[in-house]
């Protein structure tokens, strides 16, 4: 089954023209074709969220999204979140609040938060917990992650 599909993507502001197989997922395209390894690989069943990226501004699990369905889409991965040398407010807050341990879920967690904050820019603690529920972290117990998202939301709101 070698039918290839033309796939035009804008990833972190860069345009890509790719030929992909029908069964390739967005995660495979990012990690293998584009060698962007920020989005991580774990359950491959949409249950853990380490592969989360933004597609047209909405957070998705790239491990179960068929890449060819994303033709023409704008993709943002954790590598594309910073503006130039300046880290995104979420990245800064995660770093400063000690919300990072092993860090494997962090790209997915940050992208999950980035997607959620677009929808709800000033969330309560409870709302943040709901907003992040699709991404699992085993290291932190979420306490400092929730604090970091709260801090980032404030920073982003103040701008």
């Amino acid at each position: 089954m070698t039918t290839m599909h033309e796939l035009n993507l804008t990833v972190n502001g860069e345009e890509w023209q790719l030929a992909v197989k029908g069964a390739e997922t967005l995660l495979e395209v990012l990690r293998k074709h584009l060698t962007l390894t920020g989005a991580k690989s774990n359950c491959l069943e949409g249950e853990c969220g380490v592969c989360a990226v933004l597609v047209n501004g909405r957070v998705v699990n790239s491990c179960i999204l068929i890449a060819a369905q994303c033709n023409g889409a704008q993709i943002t991965t954790v590598e594309g979140l910073a503006s130039g040398e300046t880290m995104h407010a979420l990245q800064t807050a995660f770093l400063n609040r000690g919300a990072v341990q092993c860090g494997y879920c962090i790209p997915g967690m940050i992208m999950t938060a980035a997607g959620y904050l677009k929808e709800n820019p000033a969330p309560t603690e409870e709302e943040i917990r709901e907003g992040l529920c699709g991404t699992l972290c085993r290291c932190t117990g979420y306490t400092k992650i929730v604090e970091a998202v709260q801090e980032a939301a404030q920073t982003m709101g103040a701008k």
């Binding site: 039918t3 029908g22 491959l44 069943e45 068929i66 060819a68 997607g115 529920c133 699709g134």
Partner: protein, 285 residues
């Protein structure tokens, strides 16, 4: 996981592609269920027909008669639609507890119905809301009452090749209240161990004129507790009646034991959920 992907431009185009393929193909929209099934090998397809870019099947339309949800509208679209949420809180409640935001941004209402899981949250809510399913097949378009859609786990009455185009919900009559409740082992990211959607319409003097009790994961398909509904209809609902209706709903279930829960637990909590769901509806009436 390996398959060919065929992109459909319209519903008719999808039907054309389907007609040209050998058996074993599937429609795919968000893929949040199907991709997992393919990867696990519990389902095998050499060809997928991608519906996701069909413009006519997107979005939620509202007119004087009610709402038309394109089959491709996502759980998130439902959650964020103010008119729909106000009319049918149960539907919003169900859409909000499907997976995390990543799943809700991609998973579609059409997929949730066509996948026909007995535990599907949105399907259970729509069952309580008397949704009409707009389907299109080689013999043309038709509307199916949602209660006539489900057969058993992953089996529907859709004809081979027939696809879901939209879901229609009538504007609720004035005093309609709905609720959706589920239990699972966690507070999020749960496939329902049991779910219940209740929709009650009240007439003058707070008499219940129409009752719908839809239940998930307590039988081979999302099911209606019709005898329990009949107990409520035409009556003024009080605590005693709620308890009787909940017990009746329990009796109408045939839950199974699986690693998620035992039949005994499901049986016991379905009664609790129904009681709670009716009370919620009565409480706001």
């Amino acid at each position: 996981m390996d398959f060919r992907l065929h992109s459909a431009k319209s519903a008719d185009h999808a039907l054309e592609i389907a007609a040209s393929l050998k058996d074993g193909w599937r429609y795919v929209a968000g893929g949040t269920d199907l991709v997992i099934q393919l990867r696990r090998g519990v389902r095998k397809s050499d060809d997928l027909i991608d519906l996701s870019s069909i413009a006519s099947m997107q979005g939620i339309k509202e007119d004087g008669n009610g709402f038309e949800l394109g089959a491709l509208c996502t759980h998130k679209d439902i959650e964020l639609h103010e008119g729909l949420s106000a009319a049918y809180p149960a539907l919003r409640a169900a859409a909000r507890v499907v997976g995390g935001h990543q799943i809700r941004n991609v998973g579609t209402v059409g997929g949730n119905l066509a996948n026909a899981s007995p535990a599907a949250d949105v399907a259970v809510a729509l069952l309580a809301l008397d949704a009409l399913i707009g389907a299109k097949g080689s013999n043309g378009s038709r509307e199916i009452k949602i209660d006539d859609l489900f057969v058993s786990s992953s089996k529907t009455t859709l004809a081979p090749g027939e696809l879901i185009e939209h879901v229609r919900l009538a504007t609720p009559v004035v005093k309609t209240h709905s609720a959706f409740l589920k239990v699972g082992r966690r507070k999020a990211m749960e496939i329902s161990v049991v779910s219940a959607a209740i929709c009650l319409a009240f007439g003058a003097n707070d008499i219940c004129e129409k009752a719908r009790i839809a239940l998930g994961a307590v039988g081979p398909r999302p099911l209606r507790a019709k005898a329990a509904e009949r107990l409520l209809e035409g009556a003024e609902i009080d605590a005693g009646l709620i308890a009787r209706a909940a017990a009746q709903a329990r009796a109408e279930c045939s839950p199974r034991s699986d690693p998620r829960a035992s039949a005994a637990y499901r049986s016991k909590v379905v009664e609790g959920l129904v009681m709670r769901g009716i009370s919620q509806c009565v409480g706001v009436s």
